[in-house]
C-alpha cells in the first residue's frame, strides 16, 4: 500500500519535472532572452570591476583581480539563486496565468510532491543555465581560480539547496494569499534578498538593522562560503559550520514553508481563490 502510494507520488514528481522541461522547450525563445539578459548582467558586473582602475582607484593588479572575482562569483551565484527562487516562487502565479491552476490543484497528488517536483525542475534548469553563463565568463575574463577548492564550493552549493527551496515555497504562498498583489510581493522579497545577502558586498557594510536581517538570510552563508572556497580555497572542514547552518536553516524552512503553504491553500479554498482569474 505504502509502496503503491510512493510509486504514485514518484510518477507525479516525474510528471512535474517533465512538464517544466516541455515548457522550457516550448518557451525557448523567452528562455534564450533571459539567458542573454543574465549573461549581460554578469558581464557588466565583471567589467565594472575591471573599470575600477580607470576611475583612479589603483589598488594593485592582484587586488583588482580579487575584486573582480568577488563580484563575478556574487553575480553568478545570484543569477542561480534568484532563478531558482523565482521559478519556485512563481509556481502558482504561472499556473494561474496559464489557466491550469484548478487542474493541478484537483489532481490526486500530495502538495509536497507538487512543490518538490517544481523545485527539482527549477534546480536542474538553474544549474544548467548558470553553468552556461559560467563557461561564457571564462572566455571574457582572465579568471585566476588556482586557489579554488571546488569540492567545498560544491558542498556549500548543495547544502544551500534546502533553505533556498524553503524560501521559494514561502514566497510562492503570496500569490495564493493575494492573487492580484502576490506576484509583485514576490519581486519585493527577491529585491530584499539581493540587498541583505551580500551579493556584491560583505554584509558588514550594511547598517545594523539590515546587517541583522542579513545574518538570518541563508543566501548570505551560501555566498560567503562559496566565495571563500573559490577565492581562498576554504577547506571542507573549515566550511562545516557554514554547511551546518545552511542545513539547519533548510530543515526548519522546508517543513515550515510546506505547512504554511497548506494553510494558505485551505484559506484559498475557503475564499474561492483557487481559480484562474483569482
Amino acid at each position: 500500500m505504502i509502496g503503491n502510494s510512493l510509486r504514485w507520488e514518484l510518477n507525479a514528481f516525474v510528471g512535474f519535472i517533465e512538464r517544466q522541461k516541455n515548457l522550457y522547450r516550448r518557451y525557448w525563445l523567452w528562455e534564450a532572452v533571459w539567458l542573454l539578459y543574465n549573461l549581460v548582467s554578469v558581464l557588466s558586473i565583471g567589467y565594472l570591476a575591471a573599470g575600477l582602475s580607470t576611475l583612479g582607484l589603483e589598488p594593485g593588479q592582484a587586488s583588482l583581480h580579487q575584486t573582480q572575482l568577488y563580484l563575478l562569483v556574487g553575480a553568478l551565484l545570484w543569477t542561480y539563486l534568484s532563478l531558482v527562487f523565482f521559478e519556485i516562487a512563481f509556481a502558482i502565479t504561472w499556473e494561474r496565468w496559464e489557466g491550469t491552476i484548478e487542474y493541478t490543484f484537483m489532481a490526486p497528488v500530495k502538495r509536497l510532491t507538487h512543490l518538490l517536483g517544481m523545485s527539482a525542475a527549477s534546480l536542474i534548469y538553474g544549474i544548467a543555465r548558470t553553468a552556461a553563463i559560467g563557461i561564457a565568463l571564462v572566455f571574457f575574463f582572465n579568471l585566476d581560480l588556482s586557489h579554488a577548492n571546488w569540492l567545498t564550493a560544491l558542498a556549500i552549493f548543495a547544502a544551500a539547496t534546502l533553505p533556498l527551496l524553503g524560501l521559494g515555497i514561502f514566497t510562492s504562498i503570496l500569490p495564493l494569499l493575494s492573487p492580484e498583489k502576490g506576484e509583485q510581493m514576490a519581486f519585493a522579497v527577491q529585491g530584499v534578498l539581493l540587498l541583505i545577502s551580500g551579493v556584491y558586498y560583505p554584509i558588514s557594510v550594511l547598517p545594523a538593522p539590515l546587517h541583522v536581517v542579513g545574518i538570518l538570510s541563508p543566501l548570505t552563508y551560501t555566498l560567503s562560503g562559496v566565495r571563500e572556497s573559490l577565492l581562498h580555497g576554504l577547506s571542507l572542514a573549515g566550511a562545516l559550520p557554514t554547511i551546518g547552518i545552511l542545513l539547519l536553516m533548510g530543515v526548519i524552512l522546508v517543513p515550515a514553508s510546506v505547512w504554511c503553504f497548506n494553510r494558505a491553500e485551505v484559506r484559498a479554498k475557503r475564499l474561492g481563490l483557487l481559480k484562474r482569474s483569482g
Partner: protein, 279 residues
C-alpha cells in the same frame, strides 16, 4: 480510477445542506477599508446523484452551478453542510475524492504552448500512469474523437476551440474517472463541435459506466442527454426529476419543453441570460 465493488452501491454524489457565501464582511480596524457585498452562492443545497447516470444541473449565470462543481472538485470548501463523492468527504478526504473525479470546464485548462500530447502526458502522470503505452492510448482516443493525429504535437493554442474541448474530454477519459464533472462543456462551440461533444458524453456513459454531472445552459442538451435534472436558481434547488417529470409537472402543457418548465420555475429564460452575458 475504477470504482471499487464497495463503491458500486454508494451514491456517486451526496450533498446535505451545502451553503457557500462569498465576500463575507471582514472586521476592519476603525471601520476603514472596503467591505465586500455578501453573496449567497449556495443556500442549503441537498442532492443525491446515482452512479452511472448523467445528471444535469440547469441554472442561469450566478445560480451556483460552478460553485457546486468546484466544491465537488475539492477546489473550494463549503461554509456549512457536507458533500461526499462515492462516500468520501470532499473536505476531510480530498485525496480519495480526487482519485475518482475529473473535470471538463467551459474553458479548456491547458498549457497553451504545450502540445495535446505533452498536456495529456502530464495529466497521465498526475493520475498514476504515463509509462509505456500511453502514447498509443492517447492516439487511439484522439482518433476515436475524430481529431487528426497531426494535431497531437502542435501547440494547443493552434487548435480550434472545439478541438481543444475534445482534447479536454480525451484527457478526462485517460484518467478513467468514476465521476466526470462537466461545467458547460459545449458553451461557445459551433453546432457541429457541440453535437460531437454531446455524442461523446453519451459514449462515456455507454462505454465506461461513469457518472456524469453536467452543468449546462442548454436546455435542449439537458433534455436529450440527462437521465435526471436539477434546476438551480439563486443557490437553491427549485426542482428535480427526469426531464419528462419536470416537463409534466412544471411546463403547464403536455407538448411543453424543458425550457417552458425552467421558465415557469425560475421566471427566466436561459437565452436572455446568455444574451445579457454576451452584451
Amino acid at each position: 480510477m475504477a470504482i471499487k465493488a464497495s463503491e458500486l452501491n454508494t451514491a456517486a454524489v451526496e450533498l446535505h445542506g451545502i451553503t457557500k457565501r462569498f465576500g463575507q464582511p471582514a472586521r476592519r480596524p476603525f471601520g476603514r477599508g472596503k467591505v465586500k457585498k455578501e453573496k449567497l452562492a449556495l443556500d442549503q443545497v441537498s442532492m443525491h446523484v446515482d452512479s452511472g447516470r448523467i445528471t444535469g444541473i440547469l441554472g442561469a449565470n450566478g445560480s451556483g452551478k460552478s460553485t457546486l462543481i468546484r466544491i465537488l472538485a475539492t477546489l473550494m470548501t463549503p461554509d456549512a453542510g457536507t458533500a461526499s463523492v462515492f462516500g468520501y468527504d470532499v473536505v476531510t478526504q480530498p485525496d480519495d475524492v480526487r482519485r475518482h473525479i475529473n473535470r471538463v470546464s467551459v474553458e479548456a485548462s491547458f498549457f497553451k504552448e504545450m502540445s495535446p500530447w505533452e498536456n495529456m502526458l502530464y495529466a497521465a502522470r498526475l493520475y498514476g500512469s504515463g509509462g509505456k503505452g500511453t502514447r498509443a492510448r492517447v492516439e487511439g482516443m484522439l482518433e476515436r474523437l475524430g481529431l487528426p493525429l497531426d494535431t497531437l504535437d502542435k501547440p494547443m493554442k493552434q487548435l480550434s476551440r472545439g478541438q481543444q474541448q475534445k482534447v479536454a474530454i480525451a484527457r478526462s477519459f485517460l484518467t478513467s474517472p468514476s465521476l466526470l464533472l462537466m461545467d458547460e462543456p459545449t458553451t461557445g462551440l459551433d453546432p457541429r463541435s457541440k453535437r460531437e461533444v454531446q455524442e461523446l458524453v453519451r459514449t462515456i456513459r455507454r462505454d465506461r459506466a461513469a457518472t456524469v454531472l453536467l452543468c449546462t445552459h442548454d436546455l435542449e442538451e439537458a433534455e436529450v442527454l440527462c437521465d435526471h435534472v436539477l434546476v438551480l436558481d439563486q443557490g437553491r434547488v427549485l426542482a428535480e426529476g427526469t426531464p419528462a417529470e419536470l416537463i409534466r409537472a412544471h411546463a403547464g402543457d403536455v407538448d411543453g419543453s424543458l425550457e417552458d418548465a425552467f421558465m415557469k420555475l425560475t421566471g427566466k429564460r436561459l437565452e436572455e441570460d446568455e444574451e445579457a452575458k454576451d452584451e
